[in-house]
């Protein structure tokens, strides 16, 4: 259901802060222990989640999430495990959760069947990294039927004509790509996100969530001051990849997510 997302963003607007939506590859460090990582992030102040389906050829992802995907796949994760993790995360944390995937696994299962599975698992939305608005209609229709929102992207390169098409498709939120390039840490804060949010605002009140290249609480805070939500991925996945076991990964995540959560309040 997309309603929990809508509620989250309106509550955050009332509270003068942005929602923190951490990304984590499903099935890390193992399929059985995956839920403990999401639980730790929930305790530390995450408002919702992006559950990432590990993919063998992730075009929009930098080296950290690529490596995480490879490790998750060899640990036995994949589409089936990810949908299980989604169900467990929604069931135990009650937080709005979206699935993040690439288009081919959705096509392989069949768009309708995939939408059924996400709905049955309690997902609020779906993000498909290589699905621009031009190809989105058949996907959006299938998910809409089950009250699941198909998230669409706006990038610094997106033209006004394209922006209008994205908004006309009525996504549950717009994924504002904060920086050119794939996912991963940046040393400098993005200079794009404020302008991007402003461009969306001129046409629509739809929530804008900033992601890509946000890896420190300072960068997250800058994004939180203008956007409705912030996605942090690589910085958290790196903690998990560097940990020796699930317990220490959860501990590292608790600390990191706590830092990001504190950065969500606007000045």
């Amino acid at each position: 259901m997309s309603e929990p997302l809508t509620e989250l963003f309106s509550r955050c607007r009332e509270e003068g802060r942005a929602a923190l939506l951490p990304y984590m590859t499903a099935g890390l460090p193992t399929p059985e222990e995956s839920l403990t990582l999401f639980a730790a992030m929930a305790e530390a102040g995450a408002d919702g989640f992006e559950v990432g389906i590990p993919y063998a050829d992730p075009l929009m992802d930098g080296p950290v999430i690529q490596a995480a995907g490879e490790r998750a796949l060899s640990a036995g994760s994949g589409v089936e495990v990810s949908l299980d993790v989604l169900r467990e995360v929604v069931g135990s944390t009650g937080k709005p959760t979206v699935v993040m995937t690439y288009v081919n696994p959705v096509l392989r299962m069949g768009i309708e069947a995939f939408a059924d599975r996400v709905a049955a698992a309690g997902g609020s939305g779906i993000i498909i990294a290589d699905l621009p608005v031009d190809e989105a209609e058949v996907f959006a229709a299938a998910f809409r039927k089950r009250d699941i929102g198909l998230v669409l992207f706006v990038a610094p390169t997106t033209t006004d004509v394209r922006l209008e098409r994205v908004l006309a498709a009525k996504p549950p939120f717009v994924y504002g790509i904060a920086d050119l390039g794939v996912t991963g840490a940046r040393t400098a804060a993005s200079t794009h996100i404020a302008a991007l949010v402003e461009r969306v605002r001129r046409h629509s009140d739809v929530p804008v969530v900033a992601g890509v290249g946000i890896s420190t609480p300072e960068q997250a805070h800058a994004a939180a001051c203008v956007a409705d939500g912030v996605i942090v991925g690589t910085a958290l996945v790196r903690e998990v990849m560097g940990a020796t076991d699930a317990a220490s990964a959860a501990e590292a995540l608790r600390l990191a997510v706590g830092g990001f959560a504190a950065a969500m309040q606007r000045d």
Binding site: Y55, A56, D57, L59, M60, G62, P63, Q66, L73, G78, V79, E80, Y102, V103, N104, P105, V106, L107, R108, M109, A129, D130, L131, P132, V133, D134, E135, L152, F153, V154, A155, P156, T157, T158, T159, R162, I177, L180, G181, V182
Partner: protein, 393 residues
């Protein structure tokens, strides 16, 4: 029916399209607009054609392989793309795209390469036009095609090793696309085959169809020594040389045969035969046939030939397969290796391992080709493979 152009969604029936990150979409739109303009501009064709003639050496000859013809009872002709500058058909595409890059005012070019032929051809075009060039190449391919790595560096190109995945062509394409997502404002991605999101498959086909158009004039049936072809054979990895020679003939009564890499054999699961043994899905921005598992994860391909070691294929080939305009077959690493030696020792031509796949199919099928005029697109020369072939034998 052959399509002049994909539809407004960039599709050949259900194949093709634009499954690309939003960041790249404006660049793809710009590319379609700019290429459409350039392709309608006689000035662009003049510039391209004079480079193809004086720099590349086109038209490439058609050679009758007399000894092989006698040996196998067929009339075998070779379209000599191996004689094009840099040693393969790849240069037809890179000169065109490098000229387009200049028109778009972008100073930097990136490319991927498998066997290194597209990398060398891109490096060459960039040297010619004074463009900065970075080529992504899988580390396994850097090892097996060392000669081409040296050539690219001599031409002033930076070769960046790709360590993700199996370190082959698929990973190099992904790495180039990731670079492009970050650098799109001042960079053009010269993709090396008829793959990727629209407009690439269409644009690369337009730039490669010169091969088939030349053949139509060279073998027009106007004299006994220039008969019209009955069968045209080409190897298919991404499929650019095959598309280049097939496209002008698609829909005619000439039998068109694309030969994919069967690697260790189709039954081994280790091959590059996406059309023969794959299923439809999306890879590198395009709906096409690909090698994937039951959860939609893309599988690693295998071929002795780096240029055919790719789990996808151009979407127009997928369309040709489903409409029956072209038939597709496959031959193994071993059969291709034998064909290299056969052509070398019988005709004095060392073919690229990729092109040898086409010859291997012809030899295997010779009994059904008796007396027919068969044209093989000899897409590249084999110097780059000599070391590998000697090690394998």
């Amino acid at each position: 029916m052959r399509l002049d152009k994909p539809d407004t969604q960039g599709r050949f029936a259900q194949f093709g399209g634009q499954f690309a990150p939003e960041t790249l979409m404006p660049a793809l739109e710009e590319l379609e607009t700019e290429f459409t303009k350039a392709w309608a501009d006689p000035g662009f064709h003049d510039e391209l054609n004079s480079l193809l003639r004086d720099f590349v050496g086109r038209p490439t000859p058609v050679y009758r392989a007399a000894r092989l013809s006698a040996q196998y009872g067929i009339e075998l002709y070779l379209k000599r793309e191996d004689l094009a500058h840099t040693g393969a058909h790849k240069i037809n595409n890179t000169i065109g795209q490098a000229l387009l890059t200049k028109r778009m005012g972008k100073p930097r070019v990136i490319a991927e390469t498998g066997a290194g032929q597209h990398g060398v051809a891109t490096a060459t075009a960039c040297a010619l036009l004074g463009q900065e060039c970075v080529v992504y190449m899988g580390e396994k391919d850097i090892e097996r095609q060392a000669l081409n790595v040296h050539r690219m560096r001599m031409l002033g190109t930076e070769v960046r090793p790709v360590t993700s995945g199996a370190g082959t062509l698929k990973d190099a394409v992904s790495a180039a696309m990731r670079d492009w997502v970050a650098s799109v404002d001042g960079t053009h991605y010269i993709i090396g085959s008829v793959v990727g999101p629209h407009p690439f498959p269409w644009m690369v086909r337009e730039l490669q169809k010169v091969i088939g158009e030349e053949l139509e004039t060279q073998m027009d049936g106007s004299a006994p020594e220039r008969p019209q072809p009955d069968v045209i054979v080409a190897c298919v990895g991404g499929g650019s040389n095959a598309m280049g020679i097939f496209y002008p003939y698609a829909g005619s009564d000439v039998d068109l045969v694309g030969v994919e890499a069967a690697g260790y054999g189709l039954e081994s699961g280790q091959h590059g035969a996406s059309l023969v043994a794959g299923s439809p899905g999306v890879i590198h921005g395009s709906m096409t046939y690909l090698l994937q598992d039951d959860q939609g994860q893309i599988l690693e391909a295998h071929s002795i030939s780096a240029g055919l070691d790719y789990p996808g294929v151009g979407p127009e080939h997928a369309y040709f397969k489903d409409t029956g305009l072209v038939r597709y077959a496959s031959v193994t690493d071993e059969e291709a290796l034998e064909a290299v030696y056969l052509l070398a020792s019988t005709e004095g031509i060392i073919p690229a391992l990729e092109s040898a796949h086409g010859l291997a199919w012809i030899i295997k099928e010779a009994p059904s080709l008796q007396g027919k005029v068969v044209v093989l697109n000899l897409s590249g020369r084999g110097d780059k493979d000599v070391e590998l072939i000697v090690e394998q034998s």
